[in-house]
């Protein structure tokens, strides 16, 4: 059988080539390891302006809680509410803390004073993380004043942290990171397979045989699919056991949807490989066309809803975008397939389109 023959040959190639073997199995793990530790978005030294109208020991204690946390650096004290707005508008401060006149009085009366915290939302990630710190500090403050109390918060600050209650930015990052790494790796893996055949002249021999384009593409895809799948499983295991990111959702669903993503990514690599005809160019195209979009436009770092409209539309064509959503959703929120229908459908569509494009491009050569 032709397909079996191609798959077998491709496996022998991989086995005999230590470099590609290393790239296939070690690179994703190494990248995840390095970036998993290095890229944290834990925000420190958020410039903060304070408007303390109470000026009591209680209010000072609260402010100290912020400044001692290390996350907030108080750059200025002011008397008026409007000043706080000004600081933030100008970008001089990213956060403002406003303590009302009756802060200590209300606490002593057993009431619930409301402290206003303003956070510059233009960087939604920083904002989210900062809000997390606020609530943690608030909690600590309450516990310090009333160590035995089981009652609710002492001060009323409306904060909400989404999906990441432990406030570890790593939990946020790792699932998206897996998506970005896999997007690059799979395209790289296959981007060399066809161009290698061009480079060494064996493509000409293949084209003179009755082999069908679809057999050739599929035959090259299958071995790398298996490798890509193993990489994904390994990355998920690393995330949960090494980085301690909790996997809230269904692992079966996660791997199923990953498979759809792998199919598209690998087909894309093959398409590049067919068009480029040269190994160096092919791998460079693969890097460029996957890494930058996956890193910048997938919602991994920058939230898509904050992007300009045109860019938002553009992100629809980036498969990593859906994979980031899928992985974040399953990891952090434990979402089910019903919540991911849109992503699943588009990823499948993308995979099929790219696969058929690759076959068609190859057909042009085979005649």
């Amino acid at each position: 059988m032709r397909l079996k023959g191609i798959v077998k040959k491709e496996f022998i190639h991989i086995k005999r080539d230590p470099l590609s073997l290393a790239m296939a199995f070690l690179l994703p793990a190494i990248l995840l390891f390095i970036y998993g530790y290095a890229v944290t978005f834990d925000v420190e030294n958020i410039e903060t302006v304070v408007c303390d109208r109470d000026k009591s020991s209680l209010s000072r204690e609260l402010i100290e809680g912020f400044s001692k946390s290390g996350y907030f650096t108080i750059i200025s004290y002011t008397e008026s509410y409007n000043d706080v707005d000004g600081y933030i508008d100008r970008g001089d401060a990213k956060a403002g803390i406003i303590i009302p006149d009756d802060f200590s009085k209300t606490i002593r009366k057993g009431g619930l004073p409301s402290v206003e915290i303003i956070i510059d939302g233009s960087n939604s990630n920083i904002a989210t993380i900062a809000l997390g710190y606020v609530s943690a500090i608030e909690e600590r403050y309450t516990r310090r004043l009333y160590p035995l109390s089981k009652e609710g918060p002492l001060i009323q600050v409306k904060t909400r942290i989404w999906y990441n209650r432990e406030m570890r930015s790593r939990n946020f990052i790792i699932p998206g990171l897996i998506a970005v790494i896999m997007a690059v790796i799979v395209a790289l893996l296959t981007s060399l397979t066809v161009s290698k055949e061009w480079d060494r002249g064996s493509m000409e021999q293949l084209l003179s045989t009755p082999v069908k384009p679809s057999e050739l593409v599929l035959g090259k895809l299958i071995p790398y699919f298996i490798i890509g799948f193993a990489d994904t499983v390994f990355a998920v295991l690393m995330s949960t056991f090494l980085f301690g990111v909790p996997l809230k959702g269904d692992p079966v669903l996660l791997f199923l949807l990953s498979s759809i993503f792998l199919f598209g990514g690998l087909s894309f690599g093959i398409l590049i490989s067919i068009v480029a005809k040269n190994q160096t160019i092919a791998s460079q195209i693969a890097m460029l066309t996957t890494f930058l979009p996956a890193f910048l436009l997938s919602g991994f770092i920058f939230s898509i809803s904050n992007m300009p409209k045109i860019l938002q539309i553009f992100t629809l064509a980036i498969p990593a975008r859906y994979f980031v959503t899928i992985l974040k959703g399953i990891f952090l929120k434990g979402v089910t397939i019903e919540d991911l229908l849109w992503e699943t459908a588009l990823l499948s569509l993308y995979g099929l389109i790219v696969f058929f494009l690759a076959v068609k491009k190859l057909k042009k050569w085979i005649g």
Binding site: H13, R16, G201, S208, T209
Partner: protein, 308 residues
């Protein structure tokens, strides 16, 4: 099949941009023939073969291979041909056996025949004891035979060989040609390009192309007699190099052929004595001189130079 010709092309043309690599070629190759396609570098030999094997599309013209149309039936053609490209195209890091396995899979060799065909290739390439060695460790001659074996695992009736013996030692070349003759003996058509003119003599029929155009065709002996207007004198001398230089200094066209010197003459009979005189004056003795038919090399050099 009623078709007498294995390959038949009319007005076949290939353009790369403005450049015409193959220019309105007509040719017919009979079944069971060893057909030699000759020409200097860049003449368009490989381009023609690639069009016939369905690797590239012609710009215009028509043709059939094995009775199948090159425009509309490339799939059928590919089932019926074996092609060995000018560039070595087996997988170097795979072993001999792995390569044979791969191509027998690609060509869909039927299960019941597989074992026998694989054994046949090993035997034909005389490579049995090397079958688990990576191909990159083999000598050039063995590689070529293995490449041929892999290209004809499926027993195609028509075989295209693009400079199969380039860069191979003379003994291996001779062995390789014996294989080609064997295949022709079995009724297979062999379409072969070469630029070794001594090999051209092994072909049944020849076509010479130059800059994409056919400039001569016929059997080797037809070409010799009809295209060569000079007589060739073959000299046996002690110091052929010195003799060649002396004759060239005297304004004659002389070339080395093995141990002998060939001189082109307007007429052998009238110039024979003068050659003897020139060499004797230089202190050389002639051990023998005779009129020989021109070699194909003599013919092609004259033909191509006439076109430049």
């Amino acid at each position: 099949m009623v078709d007498e010709y294995a390959v038949e092309i009319k007005g076949l043309t290939k353009k790369f941009g403005d450049f015409t690599a193959v220019d309105r070629i007509d040719l017919k190759v009979r079944r069971g023939e060893i057909f030699g396609f000759l020409g200097p570098n860049g003449a368009g030999k490989s381009t023609t073969i690639k069009m016939l094997c369905g690797l590239i599309m012609p710009s215009s013209g028509s043709g059939t291979v094995g009775g199948f149309d090159i425009w509309t039936e490339p799939e059928e053609i590919k089932m019926n041909i074996g092609y060995m490209s000018q560039r070595f195209s087996l997988y170097e890091e795979l072993t001999v056996m792995e390569n044979i396995d791969f191509f027998s899979g690609i060509y869909n060799v039927p299960r019941n025949k597989k074992k026998q065909r694989k054994a046949w290739v090993l035997n034909m390439a005389q490579i049995e004891e090397k079958k688990d060695h990576p191909v990159k460790t083999l000598a050039g001659g063995l590689k070529q035979r293995l490449a041929l074996g892999c290209a004809i695992l499926h027993e195609p009736p028509i075989i295209f060989l693009d400079e199969p013996t380039s860069g191979v030692d003379p003994l291996s070349r001779r062995n390789f040609w014996r294989l080609i003759e064997e295949m022709a003996g079995e009724g297979k058509t062999v379409f072969v390009t070469t630029h070794y003119m001594d090999e051209a003599d092994n072909c049944h029929r020849l076509v010479l192309i130059h800059r994409g155009k056919i400039i001569a065709e016929g059997t080797p002996s037809e070409l010799r007699s009809s295209y060569m207007k000079f007589d060739i004198a073959e000299l046996l001398v002690d110091q052929p190099f010195v003799a060649m230089d002396i004759l060239r200094d005297a304004g004659l066209e002389a070339s080395l052929h093995g141990e002998t010197v060939h001189v082109s003459l307007e007429s052998y009979e009238s110039c024979q004595d003068e050659i003897g005189r020139i060499l004797k004056n230089a202190g050389l003795t002639i051990k023998g001189i005779e009129k020989v038919p021109p070699s194909l090399e003599d013919v092609f050099v004259t033909l191509v130079e006439g076109r430049e």
